[in-house]
Symmetry: D2
Subunit: 354 residues, 4 copies
C-alpha cells in the first residue's frame, strides 16, 4: 500500500504545482480511494487566492470519485475495488454539531469541509476518506463517474440552496446567477416543487442551460435592474423565495428586495471576496418585522446524501453533465485550473480524468 | 339575477336526477358562478351510495369551473364574467381550525368539504362560493377550463398526499393504486423531489399513465404480493414513504409494511366503505416505537392553493388532462355519472361541459 | 348606537391630543368593542415620532380589551356585553399572505397591523374589530382585563420571538434587552423548552423581572462587551439561538456573533430608528455558509393565538402583570403616554383603564 | 484492565440471576464505564418476559451512569475517571438511518437500542459504550448520579413523546397513563409549551406527581370513560394532541378519539404485550381524512441529547427525582427487579447504586 502519487497542490498563496506525495494510509475508520475523475471547483480558485488559511503544500480538490484502494481496520460494508464517490463535506457525524443535524458545520464553523482546509484534497491520484462508513458512497453501475462527481458538491450545494429556500408546491423562486452552483440551485428548485423559476444570468450559454434545467424566465441583469425586472415579471408582487448563488453584496440585497413579505432568502454564494459586511436594507426587511428569513448553508455531506442524488440521476430526473464544458487528463490539470481561474472559453465545469 | 337552472342531485340514497332549482343568490361574502366545466369524482359515487348524511335533493359535484355570475356586496377584487375555479374545499379561513392551518377541517372534522355535504354542490348550471375572497380563483387565460378543473380536487388532494409523505430529495416512495387521486399523488411525489417512485396498479392504461406522470417502477398486485415486490425492488430495505390512495384495509397495512423504520405513511384513500376499523400490524409498527408516522388529510382548499397548482400547469410541469378519458355535455350527466359509478370502459375521469 | 366618544390621537407628527370622535359603527363582518383597559406600547411612541405614514388625527393604541358593544350583521357566535380582547394584529385571514400563514403580513408587508396604521387605534372608548369572527377573543371569567391585555401584543410578539428562534429542548438562548417585548421573549424561551436563558440587560429592575420570568444568567452590557460575556458563559461555544429585542444595529450584529454555527437569530426589535442598513459581519456569517439563519416577524394575531396565550395564564404558567409598573385612568392618558415616551420612573408598561 | 465483575442477567425467559462476567474491554471507538448508579426500567421486565429475542445470559439494564474506566484507542476528548452517563440508545450516527435523523432506528427497526438486545446491558459493574465520541455524556459536577440517570431513558423518551406531539404554544394535551414514562411526557408537554395538560391516571401517588410535574387536570379512568371525561373538560372539542404512554389498544384508540380534527397522536407506549394489531376506529380517523397524524418513536439517544436534558435539570426546570420511590444497593438487585416486575408498594422507579 506504500508508494508515491502525484497531487495538485497549492504551494503558497497564488501558486500551484503538481508534486509527488506518499500515497496516504487509512486510519482505522478511514478509507483511501484511487481517483478516477474529479471536477474543478471555483472554491479551489478562491483557496489559491488565499480565501482560507491553508497549509502550504495542501492538495486541492474536493469533487472526486474513484475506486476503494484501502480500507481502515474498522471499516465494514465496503470492498476494495468498489467504485465510490465522496462528498466535498465529510462529517464525523458524532460531534455536537453533527448530532444537531448541522453536519457541514462538523466540529465548528464550516468544519465538515475538510479537503484542502484540514486534510489533503482529492485532486490527486489517491485520497483519504474520513469516517468512511458514513462518507464512502458506492456508485451504481448505471452511473458514470462524471455524473457521480456532480453529486460531490455542485448538486448537493445547489439543491441545498433550494431546500433552504423552503419551497412549497407552486412557489415562485428567483435564482441569482447561473454559474455551476446556481444552475444546480435551478435544478433543485425545479425538483422541489417550484411553480415558476426566474433565473438571473447574462451569459447566453448559461441562460440556455438554466432553461434546460427548469428555469421559466431569464432575467439578464445587463439589460436593466434585475429587481425591477423580477417585480415586473411577478406583477409587482415579488417571489416567494430567492436564492443567492453569486456571492456579491448587491445580489444579496436584491434577494431581500425581490421577496415578498414572509419570503425566504437562501444564501449559497461565497462572500469571502467582499471587503465589507453584507447589508440588509431596512425597507426590504420591514424594519425587522416583515416575516422574511435568511438562511445560509454549506454543501450537505455524507453518503446518504450521495445516494439521494444518485437516485435523481438514475431515474433521469437530473442530468448535470451538460455543465461539463471541458475535459482534461490529470496531466493537464494545471491547464484545467487556469481555465477555471480565468473563467475563459465559456467554461462552466472542467472534468479531469485520471 | 333570479331564474331557475338545472342541477344534478341525489334524490335519495341510491338515486339521482336532474332537477330544476332556483339560481342561487350570493350572501354578502359569497359569489355565484355560472358553471362551464366540471369533473365527476368517485366521492360523488360514494355520496350517492350513502357515505355521507346528505340532505335529500342535494346537488352533487365539487370539481367545477366557470365564470363569475354574481358577487356578494362585500366581495372585492373580482369582476362579473371573470373565469374562475373553486376548490372542492371552501374554508371560512377564520375559525379555530382554519387559523390552526387545518383549513380542510374548517369548523370540525371534514368541515371544509361543503359542496353536497353542507350546501348544494356544483354539478349544476350555477353554484355558490362561500368566503369568495379566499375561494374564487381566477383562471389565467393560458389555462383551459379542463386543466383548471383538475386543480379543484384531483391535483390538490394527490399532491397533498405527497406533501404529507414529507418527501426529502431523492426519497423512495410507493403509491398504492393509480386511480385519479393516486395518479395525482404520483405527480406530487415526482414534483416534490422523490428519487424513485413505485406505483402499485394492475390496469395497463393506468400503469401507462403512472409512468407518464413520473413512476419509475410499476408493481402489479395481481402478479404477487405487492409488499414482497416492493421489498424486492428496494433490496429488502423498503421505501421512505408510502401513499395510500386506494381506501382498503389491506393497502393501509401494506403501506406500513413497505416503509422502513422512521418512514411515513400518508393516507388519502377514503375508508368509508370499510365495515371494520383499520388495523396496524404490530411488527410493522415496531410495537409502537419504530419511528413511523401516519398522516391523513383532505383536499387542501382556498384560492392560493389553486394558484399554486395553476402555476405548475402554466409552466407545463404538470398536465393532468391525459386522465380525461370521457367527455359529455351536461345533458348527458346521468350517463357520465353511471360510467363513473360502474368504473367501466377504463374510465379515469369524465369531463362534463355546460 | 350613535354618539361620540373620547379618543387619544396623534394630531400631527410629534403631537397628541384627546379628541371627540363618533362611536364607530361596525360593517357586516366587523364588531365594535367598548374599551375597558389598554396598555401603552413603545410602538405608539415610535408612531408619534413619525415612524409610520399615519393619517393626521389617527387614534393611537393597539393593546386593548373591553366588552362587545355592537356586532356586524354577518358576525355570529358572540354576544353584546361579552368580555373580549383583540390582538394588535387583525388579519383578514383570506388574502394570499394570510392563506400562506403570514397573517401578520396580511395583504402585504406589516399589513396585519391595522390599528393606527390603517384604521383608528383602540386607545379610545370604543374601537372597531375587523374580521370579527377571527379576531374577537372572548376572555375567560378567571382572567383579569390586565392579563388579557398582555396577550394583545407583548406576549404574542415576545413568544413569537422565541418561536422563530426554533428552540429545541435544552437549547441555550440569549435574549438581547429586557424591555417589555424582550421580557416576553424570555417568557417564551422559558416556555418553549430552553435549557439555559441568558438575558442581556443593564437596569436592575428589568434584570430582576428577567430572572423571575425564566432567565438563568444576566449579562449587563454596561459591564463589558456582551458578546464576550456570553461566549464566556457558554465556554466559548456560543448559544443555539439569539433573540434581538432591542432594535439596534449593534445588538443585531451581536446576535450573529454569539450564535454557534447552525444557530438561529430571531429578530423582534423594531429597526425603524436606524438611519443605515443593518450589517452582517462576514466572519459571524461564515462568509454566507455557516448554517445560520435570521428570521423576522410581527406579532402573531387572531383569536386562536389569544386563546393559546390565555391558557398559559389560566394555568398560571405565565403571569405578565409584574410588568405593569404604572396605572392610570383614561383621563390621565397623556400623562401615561409621556411616561412611556420618556422611559422615566423605571416604567415598563403603563396600564390605562376606562 | 482485565478481571471479572458482577452482572444482573436474564438466564432464560422468565429467569434472572447475578453472575460473574469478564470486565469488558473497549474496541477502538468504544469506552468502558464503571457503573455507579442505575435505574430499573419496565422494559427490563418486558425483556425477561420474552418481549425481545435476547441471547440467554444477556445482561439487563440500560439506564446507567458511572465513571470512565477505559477508553478505546480512537476515542478522544474524555478522560478516565470522568463522571459520565450513557443514553439507553447508543447510535452509530453513521448508517443511513442515523444520517436520516432516525438515530434510534440505527441500522434498522429499534436498532439504536443495543443494551441487552444486541450487547450486554449496563445493570453490571462495568459496561461497554459503543461509538463513545457520540455516546459518552460527561455529567456536570452540580448534577447527582441519580438525576443524570433519569436522562438515560425516562426523560429522553417522555420528552420525545411530547416532541412528537408537535405541541404549539398553549395547546391542550392529554397524556394517557402516568407511569414513569408518562410522567416524563407530562414534564415534556409542560416544558414544550402546552397550555393545558390533562393526565389520565388512577393511582393517587401518580396523580400527585403528575400535578407536580405540570398536569392541570387529572382524569381517573376508573371513575368513568376517560374519553368522555376529556371531551367534557375541553367543552366537547377535544385536545390538540394526545400522548399514549400506556401500551394498550384501548388507550391508543382513546388517543384518536380525544384529539380534534388535525390533532396529533404520539405513541410512546410499548405494545409488545398486545396479542392483536392495534385498531384505528374509522369515525375517530375521519375515514382517513380528518387531518390527524400518528407518530411513534424510541428514546432519543446520543450525548447531545443528554446535555440538553442535563441543562433542564441544572437550571431546576426539571427535577425527576420524586419518581425515585425505592433505593437499593446492587447486592439487592434481584429484590429491586422483583419490585418493578410486581409493580407493588407503589413503586415508580427503583434506583440501584453500586
Amino acid at each position: 500500500m506504500s508508494g508515491t502519487m502525484r497531487a495538485f497542490v497549492m504551494t503558497e498563496v497564488g501558486r500551484t504545482a503538481v508534486v509527488e506525495k506518499p500515497i496516504p494510509v487509512p486510519g482505522p475508520e478511514e478509507a483511501v480511494v484511487r481517483t478516477t475523475a474529479a471536477l474543478i471547483c471555483t472554491s479551489d480558485v478562491h483557496t489559491v487566492k488565499g480565501a482560507l488559511p491553508v497549509a502550504d503544500g495542501a492538495t486541492l480538490g474536493h469533487e472526486a470519485v474513484g475506486v476503494v484502494h484501502a480500507l481502515g481496520s474498522a471499516v465494514e460494508g465496503f470492498t476494495e475495488g468498489q467504485r465510490v464517490a465522496v462528498n466535498a463535506v465529510t462529517p464525523c457525524f458524532r460531534c455536537d454539531y453533527c448530532q444537531r443535524g448541522d453536519t457541514s458545520q462538523c466540529g465548528g464553523p464550516l468544519g465538515g469541509y475538510r479537503y484542502t482546509a484540514q486534510i489533503d484534497g482529492n485532486m490527486a491520484e489517491y485520497f483519504i476518506v474520513p469516517a468512511a462508513k458514513g462518507n464512502l458512497a458506492p456508485i451504481p453501475d448505471e452511473l458514470s463517474d462524471e455524473k457521480a462527481a456532480y453529486a460531490c458538491d455542485m448538486l448537493s450545494t445547489g439543491i441545498m440552496g433550494a431546500e433552504n429556500a423552503a419551497i412549497e408546491i407552486g412557489d415562485t423562486v428567483a435564482v441569482f446567477a447561473q454559474g455551476p452552483v446556481g444552475l444546480c440551485a435551478t435544478i433543485g428548485a425545479h425538483r422541489l416543487g417550484a411553480g415558476r423559476i426566474i433565473a438571473v444570468e447574462s451569459r447566453p450559454e448559461r441562460q440556455a442551460l438554466a432553461k434546460q434545467f427548469g428555469a421559466d424566465d431569464i432575467v439578464d441583469f445587463t439589460a436593466g435592474d434585475p429587481v425591477e425586472q423580477i417585480m415586473d415579471i411577478t406583477g409587482g408582487v415579488g417571489v416567494d423565495a430567492a436564492i443567492e448563488a453569486f456571492g456579491f453584496p448587491q445580489t444579496f440585497e436584491a434577494c431581500l428586495r425581490v421577496t415578498k413579505a414572509g419570503g425566504r432568502v437562501s444564501n449559497i454564494g461565497y462572500h469571502g471576496e467582499n471587503p465589507n459586511p453584507l447589508q440588509i436594507p431596512l425597507d426590504a426587511f420591514g424594519l425587522g418585522m416583515n416575516g422574511k428569513s435568511i438562511r445560509t448553508g454549506l454543501c450537505t455531506g455524507g453518503n446518504l446524501r450521495m445516494q439521494r442524488l444518485f437516485r435523481l440521476m438514475l431515474s433521469d430526473r437530473v442530468d448535470p453533465t451538460p455543465m461539463t464544458t471541458h475535459r482534461f487528463g490529470f496531466d493537464r490539470i494545471e491547464e484545467a485550473f487556469e481555465l477555471m481561474a480565468s473563467k475563459s472559453d465559456n467554461v462552466i465545469k472542467p472534468l479531469v480524468t485520471f
